[in-house]
Amino acid sequence: MAITGRFVLLALAGILPLLLFPRPATVLVWCLLLAVAVTVDLALAVSPRRVGLQRRLPANVRLGESVTAQLLLANHGRRQLRAVLRDGWQPSAGAVNPDQRVRISPGERRLLQVQLTPLRRGDLLAHHVAIRSLGPLGVAARQITISLPGRLRVLPPFHSKRHLPSKLRKLRELDGRVAVQIRGAGTEFDSLRDYVRGDDVRSIDWRATARRQAVVVRTWRPERDRRVVIVLDTSRTSAARIEDEPRLDTGIEASLLLAVLAERGGDRVDFLAFDRRPRAKVASAAKGNLLNQLVNAMAPLDPELIEADWSQIPAEIHALSSHRSLVVLLTALDSGAAEEGLLPVLAQLTAKHTVVVASVNDPHVDRLRTVRDTADDTFRAAAAERAMLERAAVAAQIRQLGAEVVDAPPHELPPQLADMYIRLKAAGRL
């Protein structure tokens, strides 16, 4: 049960009789009046246990967008229901109007709409609905909490989508499929066609020309149906927040851009999120929209506070794709973690695959390096220099082992990784 502001006002009104008749009997009478009002109200309020509830939730929403969660209320009581409801969403669901007043006639239903603007990626939960059913006098209410679980999946925002058109144009240039007729980069023979003015004379196929009595050129295109395996590290190093977002979220953005680009480039994309065991997996063989599967797999990922077990990675990659692939490792180049975990298995990977190690670097470190005004600052600059030297050493070691390194600040990592892919594809190294 609960009392309302009206009850407090009614109690406050007791001052008037008390001013006129300052006697204990006045207090008794007024208390009795209040007790009667509360009893009548509680007796006449519709039992909140006779309210039917049903949740209707959209399957998912992208982070940054708003969505409406619906709550269908049915009054199975015999009197009109006047109630205040609270939909128990967790705070990061960003419920704009979780508290709502309703008035439902007996036997009717009503649809409540709760506006949600999620603040975080992942699975957001609603646990319960609390109903406070007011009596006809509005001085007291019956209140219960009904367990009514609901789940809304908030997908990663894919901000790096804006880089997609420019990268796709580059990809088409490789393919030779552009408005301006160019030769097309790549190593795979595509077709023979008649020479037109402007074609590179070096691409003339003399043998075919001899057969046809017209000048014929060869066209080339990049290899297709290569395999791209994206491995996203979800271990403790991914929990580091760089600028505004954790390393994990930057990794998700970069993998999404790369995956979409590679799919358009005619390659097959596999995705694996891993620390000591696989956290999410999307196989290229699966049917349906790749982007959709990827964002659904990535949405519930959270950084785990454990060290990654890189020794399992070669076997996991082999399970995904037994052919030569482009393996993209999205991890951190922090000296300790990388030296002990990543470097020992990298040789094993580069022997079979083309490997790209992508990592977010922190522009803040670069700023710390240049501030040298006080002793505090200078020691900090020295520590920052140390960290950058170690990072450079790790990157050099990785390059020596035959892998490529993409090391960029958060907002530049997705496009730079996409460029790396296009470069490797153009060079025929996939």
């Binding site: 009850f7 300052p22 006045t26 039917g52 969403w89 008035r103 975080r120 406070r132």
Partner: protein
């Protein structure tokens, strides 16, 4: 109260069978889940749960109320005052009062001036005045002299002596250690008693002094008869106490002094005897009658308002927070380690190595270039002398923090010069 807050107009749809809802808005999961009605409990189960949850506090409240009620019902506190005829403790005088009663003396205990006057007016008798806190003034005491036949002043103060025994003066405290005091006077009572224990107050003057002790200013005694012989000043109050009455001749002295007549009015002065004009006015009596009940009621309404605002609509919902770490934290930690360990040269090595690496890259030197090569290249590319660069880039070892800061800034300056050329 309208269903405000519902963003779209809340469409009232006719209730079909529960579990088969009408089509939801587009884009929403079709509601396969059955309708949930109630929380599986009832009014009584909720009540039981509440009681169980609050049982500790309820029991505590009941106990508290019980204790308060018991305290209120137990009536007035027991008499604990010194030399009170109703006090059976060692410091009381119930023993002597009871013995007097057994001997046929009517002992009347009073605690106000008016009551004392009434009692004396009714039947006369001996009057014992005990005013340890000096509430009474000489003007109040004076009329009693006419009404009482005989007066015993128990440990009187200055005012009482002035009013009732003008010739007697206070002479200080008699130390309690030492032997008993012999009567050594002509009065029949003290003579019968023989000797009493030491203690109490002494007085001098009057017509006779018994149990006298020697003091620097002459004799003083705990038992003094006033000039007119009608008032006994008894400084040795302890002879009446339950604790000391059985010792020496205390009992004989007490009984003889107090039991001389067949009626004894035992008057203990209290604060209510202070003249009315001097008593402070009770401020509550100046306020209107309704102030107290209304303010109490307002307090009660305040408590009710707390219950109103304090009732939450449903339990709190927890937020599972992912772990996040600031990425530059390790750098900060390492910087503080350098500083605490005063590792100035270690920090300098880091700065030097980083600067050399960047300069080498800037000047397009091969990866294996030595520091001498870098110095040569920098000398060619900047206006600085070789010797200065040798010192700055190769030999400088800043021993102090101040030197480190200056040198680090010099390095930065050099880098800028080379970069902007």
């Amino acid at each position: 109260m309208t269903p405000a807050g519902t963003t779209a107009a809340p469409a009232a749809v006719p209730a079909g069978r529960p579990g088969s809802p009408t089509a939801g808005a587009a884009g929403h999961e079709s509601a396969d889940r059955p309708e949930t009605v109630g929380d599986g409990g009832s009014v009584w189960s909720t009540l039981r749960n509440r009681l169980r949850r609050w049982s500790f506090w309820l029991i505590l409240l009941v106990l508290l109320c019980g204790v308060v009620a018991l305290e209120l019902l137990r009536g007035p506190a027991a008499d604990r005052a010194d030399l009170s005829p109703g006090n059976a403790a060692p410091n009381g005088a119930k023993a002597v009062a009871e013995v007097l009663r057994q001997q046929g003396v009517q002992v009347v205990a009073t605690d106000s001036l008016q009551e004392t006057r009434d009692q004396l007016h009714a039947a006369g008798g001996t009057l014992l005045i005990h005013d340890p806190n000096g509430y009474l003034s000489a003007e109040q005491l004076e009329p009693l002299k006419a009404q009482a036949g005989r007066i015993v002043l128990l440990e009187p103060g200055f005012e009482a002596l002035r009013a009732l025994a003008p010739g007697v003066r206070a002479a200080g405290v008699i130390p309690a250690d030492g032997g008993n005091l012999p009567a050594d006077c002509r009065q029949p009572g003290p003579t019968t008693a023989g000797e009493i224990t030491r203690g109490g107050f002494s007085y001098r003057g009057g017509s006779d002094m018994c149990f006298a002790v020697d003091t620097a200013a002459g004799d003083a005694a705990p038992y003094v008869l006033s000039d007119d012989g009608a008032t006994v000043v008894l400084g040795a109050g302890h002879v009446l106490s339950n604790e000391a009455i059985v010792q020496a001749g205390n009992a004989a002295l007490a009984l003889n002094t107090l039991g001389a007549t067949d009626r004894l009015v035992w008057y203990r002065a209290g604060p209510q005897d202070v003249p009315v004009a001097d008593a402070p006015v009770n401020p509550m009596s100046l306020l209107p009658e309704w102030v107290l009940p209304v303010s109490l009621w307002l307090m009660a309404v305040g408590v009710v308002a707390m219950f109103w605002r304090g009732r939450r609509l449903g339990p709190l919902v927890s937020e599972p927070l992912p772990v996040l770490v600031r990425s530059a934290e390790t750098i900060e930690g390492r910087a503080r380690l350098y500083q605490n360990a005063k590792a100035v040269n270690h920090a300098a090595d880091n700065l030097r190595a980083a600067t050399m690496t960047r300069l080498a890259a800037q000047l397009r030197l091969p990866a294996g270039a030595s520091s001498a090569d870098v110095v040569n290249a920098v000398a060619r590319n900047s206006g600085r002398s070789r010797a200065e660069l040798e010192r700055l880039l190769r030999h400088e070892e800043p021993g102090t923090e101040a030197r480190l800061v200056a040198w680090a800034q010099e390095l930065q300056q050099l880098e800028k010069e080379v970069t902007h050329r």
